[in-house]
């Protein structure tokens, strides 16, 4: 059962990822990316990583995709007249990314081999309950410090969008 779901999800993931790259219309690209993100969340659920799955849906399928769609609409990229990059740049980019992929694959292939049978120990490692405990005990300081990060981003948004009162009076 698990295997069938895995193969179905993998097919959806790969198919929509390819659609994202090859479709001419940016909106279609963005929409297939949403489907791709959802199927990746499905993979996480298969591995029993509930928190990761939910966060992935909230952050990627929700926030980031909305941001991308808005950008496409506001900047009016919704046209097919994408400029052609020089062929040398395309080749260079392809080679560079193939090399990165090769290095990563070579490194990761030497990790533990494929897991062939699932072994259920009964111990709870990664449910949201356990994660919450780790986050608020062991990782309390980073958790709090992340709020400073968000605060800075928020002040920045206000700072950049606030009107210069003095300037407009002149």
């Amino acid at each position: 059962m698990g295997e069938i779901i895995f193969y179905a999800l993998a097919a959806v993931t790969l198919g929509t990822a390819l659609l994202t790259i090859f479709s001419r219309n940016p909106i279609h690209s963005a929409l297939s990316l949403v489907v791709c993100f959802f199927s990746i969340a499905g993979h996480y659920l298969l591995l029993n990583a509930q928190f990761l799955a939910i966060v992935h849906i909230i952050v990627y399928s929700g926030a980031i995709m909305i941001l991308m769609l808005f950008t496409i609409m506001l900047m009016n990229l919704n046209k097919d007249d994408e400029s052609h990059k020089p062929i040398a740049a395309k080749i260079a980019a392809t080679i560079a990314f193939c090399l990165v992929g090769l290095v990563l694959l070579a490194g990761l292939l030497r990790t533990k081999p494929v897991v062939e049978s699932y072994y259920y120990s009964g111990e709870d490692f990664q449910s949201i309950k356990v994660l919450g405990k780790v986050l608020l005990n062991e990782y309390m300081v980073p958790f709090e410090f992340a709020s400073v990060l968000l605060l800075v981003a928020m002040i920045g948004a206000v700072l950049i969008s606030k009107k210069d009162k003095e300037k407009s009076l002149k």
């Binding site: 990563l104 062991e138 410090f145 992340a146 800075v152 700072l159 606030k162 003095e166």
Partner: protein, 455 residues
Amino acid sequence: MNTLIAIAVLGVIVLLAEIFNLRKAIIPVTLAGLIATLGLTVTEFGVTESHYNNMIKVNNFTVAFSSLFIVLTIFLIALSADFYQERASKISDFVSIKLFLLAGSVSMVSFGNLAMFFLGIEVLSIALYILAGSDRLNVKSNEAGMKYFLMGSFASGIILFGIALVYGAVGSFDMDMIYEASNSATTVDWFYIGVSMITVGMLFKIATVPFHFWAPDVYEGAPTLTTATMSTLAKVTAMATFFKLNMAMNGNMKFEYELVIVIVSIASMTVGNIMALRQNNIKRMLAFSGISHAGFMVMALLNLQNATGSLFYYTAAYGLAGIAAFTVVIYVCKGKDNENIENFNGLGKRNPLMAGILTASLLSMAGIPIFSGFFAKFFLLNQVLNAGWLVLVIAGVINSMIAVYYYFKVVSAMYTKEATEEPAKVPFEFYIVAVLAIGLNIAIGLFPSALMDLF
């Protein structure tokens, strides 16, 4: 740990002051608070402890660098009152962002866990992206903010990927565990891929040569006070962090890694200096000079065991000289739409004190004796020589000589050319900041052991 809490609380107090309409009190209160924090930090000297499951460490390294960052921030905030005069309604935002930036840099040197390191670097970078683009009606500032944001977030992504690989290899974010893993022979290969990716990201933040392309444009476009922050506080922080990361991740540094560092160092010094020769905009020139200084600072990695003192001395000398130089640049270029060297014509007659301070700080950066820049280079090159890299020492000396030329271009404009306009009035705090910064610079030049023997 106390330092971090104190700075974050101070940032929140500044935000609250705006609500209660205490705008005039913001800068004095912040300065007083920072001086108190400096005192609090210094009292922790000599203590070695770790807080909250080793998230934050306190030792001589963290205390020394945190104090340096606080001193630099005190100077930068003292300059804010006049610099943001026209935008007084935003002063609390600017000051609090700078305080949080300081909190980020303090956590970047005192982390005991990679999670704290990454959060620190993100707080620092995001604060800088905002400050770089904060002059939103100016196209150049927009360009600077956008460029820095796109490239910087890409570099952060690479660092994060590196951290993930290191975690995959070690199974922990804890620096002690990572140190053990880097010394063990059984460490898996992708640990080193992770270390390389973190190195790439950090070299970007310091702006060394293959990753320096953002620096001149961003430095030129950003408001001058932000440029001062980037070239002093941010650069020094990134360098100290990179050094600390290397102490943990490169327990037995491979020869190939050393070779990469040597090449990066030589390339940064050479490219930075040669490009600086052709610049007519002083902010661009200082950007390229910053790239060449980054090349010098990276040298400290070749002698990880002994170079801590020399690196601290170098960063202090460079930071203080940078503050003094930028104070004068802010004064001279105030109200002008460019920062060309012609603006400095005749400054020697118009305002001898400011001209003298700029001369002194540029001489310190060039490495002329009495000023601490000379001793900083001397100690660092000495460490490199002990590590056995004679080539690098020769390259460093040649580059110091090239650097003198473009620094003197500004000095000769100040003293030999005729002034084109009437002198502007210098705000009181500019004198204090400039004199104090250059005074400290000369003082540590006269008593180098005061900083060198801290470690």
